[in-house]
């Protein structure tokens, strides 16, 4: 696999806080690679190191074969970067922003229009509107166009879907899928675990460290304990009662159901019988496959 991004032992400290602790991973050419983790995990710091805006305290990284410290100028010309905060000029119109970013990179909008056309078409009806007055979803589409206008070889998107509604989020991921089919390498971060499945491969990141790297299917396959979905009436009391029951290693909320991790020797019928004895009727317990959140929590516990 030809590598578009390589990071080895990347470490960054801010005073006494270690924002990134010896992070290593590689992204292959043409991959859509997701960095999944909560606020404060170190995602934005990693983006700033890879896009040469910060220098690491230890370790090193390459983007497109260039060293992020020595060859920062070459990298800045070749990558597209959409930071986590709104990065356009609010007082410039949609088309003025696009022209401006093209000029910065010494290209004309029409040179690479084919690349942004499917995205730009959606905001073109508002081309004379000031960027500051666009909706969240449209701002994000414009920011993506601006990050793509010089036809970058690697695209860095820091939490592009935070704060936008489910419809716009889905549209955004469809655009990333389309860009992948055109061969663009993308590193994208998100705090939302349900978006992990849209990536070729993901790295789970928490508290400055990478917990695991794999395909979304490979990650969930790492969950090797018996897992059940538990539901019934009085869900809160049920949660507390389940935790007290023999053979239950862990039980935690999971939206409409609770997830229960069983120990060896756990017997569903005995479990339901025990709960019935405590007044819980119509308890449903089904074996299920783990999701990204289950794996994430398991790996978090491992690190402790």
């Amino acid at each position: 696999m030809e590598r578009a991004i390589t990071a080895e032992g990347l470490t960054k400290r801010y005073g006494s806080l270690t924002a990134l602790d010896s992070v290593s991973f590689a992204v292959g050419r043409g991959e859509l690679f997701g960095l999944i983790g909560p606020d404060g995990a170190g995602k934005s710091t990693l983006f700033r190191l890879l896009t040469t805006l910060l220098a690491p305290d230890a370790g090193h990284a390459e983007v497109d074969g260039f060293d992020t410290v020595k060859d920062y100028r070459a990298i800045r010309r070749r990558v597209g970067y959409m930071p986590g905060c709104f990065s356009l000029y609010p007082d410039l119109s949609v088309e003025e922003n696009l022209d401006f970013f093209a000029a910065l990179f010494g290209v004309r909008v029409r040179d690479n229009y084919d690349l942004i056309a499917p995205i730009y078409r959606q905001i073109a009806p508002f081309r004379t509107r000031r960027a500051g007055r666009l909706s969240g979803g449209m701002k994000q589409k414009l920011a993506l166009c601006c990050a793509l206008i010089h036809r970058p070889s690697v695209l860095f998107l820091d939490e592009p879907t935070t704060g936008v509604d489910a419809v716009s989020r889905n549209e955004f991921w469809e655009m990333l899928d389309d860009l992948r089919q055109r061969g663009i390498t993308t590193l994208v971060s998100t705090p939302y675990m349900d978006e992990a499945g849209r990536c070729d491969r993901i790295a789970l990141i928490n508290a400055a460290r990478i917990l695991g790297i794999d395909s979304p299917k490979g990650i969930v396959a790492r969950f090797d304990e018996p897992l059940y979905a538990l539901s019934g009436e009085r869900m809160y009391e049920l949660l507390l009662a389940a935790r007290q029951s023999p053979g239950v290693r862990e039980c935690y909320t999971f939206g409409e159901t609770h997830h229960l991790i069983a120990e060896a020797g756990f017997d569903p019928d005995t479990f339901i019988g025990t709960l019935a004895g405590k007044g819980f009727r119509q308890v449903a317990l089904h074996p299920i496959g783990a999701g990204i959140e289950d794996v994430f929590m398991k790996l978090m516990h491992h690190g402790e």
Partner: protein, 247 residues
């Protein structure tokens, strides 16, 4: 439900000029419910919620929140509800104690009452050792628990939560939902607005707003069944895609 609904809304509308932001919404929320209030950007969610929180008055329609009239008693509503947002709730530069005292004062509690409730709150959260720590230095999970406790310091019957767990790790998130479940089991009503459909799955019932109107209302399982969807995300997208208006 046997008792009076804690939130009761009938044909509530809000117009700005000739734009109808909220268009005759009608629903009830029972005591002890965790009610999810969903909608795409621009669907009218924020405008509706501002009316429910007593921050703006409706153009037409009627309703009550915790027994107070939405059309006339905004000030009283504000004093009797709790509000918490993931983005902002506490002052990072104030200590744990100072934050509690500040909010106690805002909610109009007496000094003695503030002291009494502060002690109880620190005890319950096991925060005594951290009472003089600046909130900015607390781990996110602690901050959230504190923010929720502060938002309920005046023992409101209904608490509004705005995207309460966006961006937090899955363990912290579950600790928070347990706090919510506990409050609901004790009879507090939780009114949750969120963009994130996996948060919606935690609610007892949800409503989905499209173009200023409530298009769907029910338990997540019912809605998924009705729309033949696997997740709330699918249900939401099916409905929101029909939206005619953009922001």
């Amino acid at each position: 439900m046997e008792s009076e609904p804690i939130i009761r809304v009938r044909e509530l509308s809000k117009r700005f000029g000739d734009f109808t932001a909220v268009d005759r919404i009608t629903f009830d929320v029972a005591r002890g419910e965790i009610f999810g209030f969903l909608g795409a950007n621009g669907a009218g969610k924020t405008t509706a919620m501002r009316m429910l929180c007593g921050l703006s008055y409706p153009t037409s329609g009627s309703g009550t929140v915790a027994g107070f009239d939405i059309a006339r008693e905004g000030e009283l509503i504000k004093r009797h509800i709790g509000y918490m947002s993931q983005r902002f709730s506490l002052y990072d530069d104030l200590t744990v104690m100072e934050n509690i005292r500040l909010y106690g004062g805002i909610y109009g509690l007496s000094r003695r009452e503030i002291l009494r409730r502060t002690a109880a709150l620190l005890e319950r959260l096991d925060f005594r050792a951290e009472r003089h720590t600046r909130v900015g230095r607390l781990p996110l999970g602690w901050k959230q628990k504190l923010a929720f406790s502060v938002a309920t310091l005046h023992r409101p019957e209904v608490v509004f939560l705005d995207e309460p767990t966006g961006g937090v790790d899955p363990v912290t998130r579950r600790q928070f939902w347990e706090l919510i479940y506990e409050a609901a089991a004790e009879g507090t009503t939780l009114f949750v607005t969120t963009h994130y459909m996996d948060e919606a799955e935690y609610c007892s019932r949800v409503s989905i707003m499209v173009d200023g109107q409530i298009r769907a209302l029910g338990a997540p399982a019912e809605l998924k069944r009705h729309y033949g969807a696997r997740t709330m995300d699918e249900v939401f997208r099916m409905l929101a895609r029909e939206a005619k208006r953009t922001e």
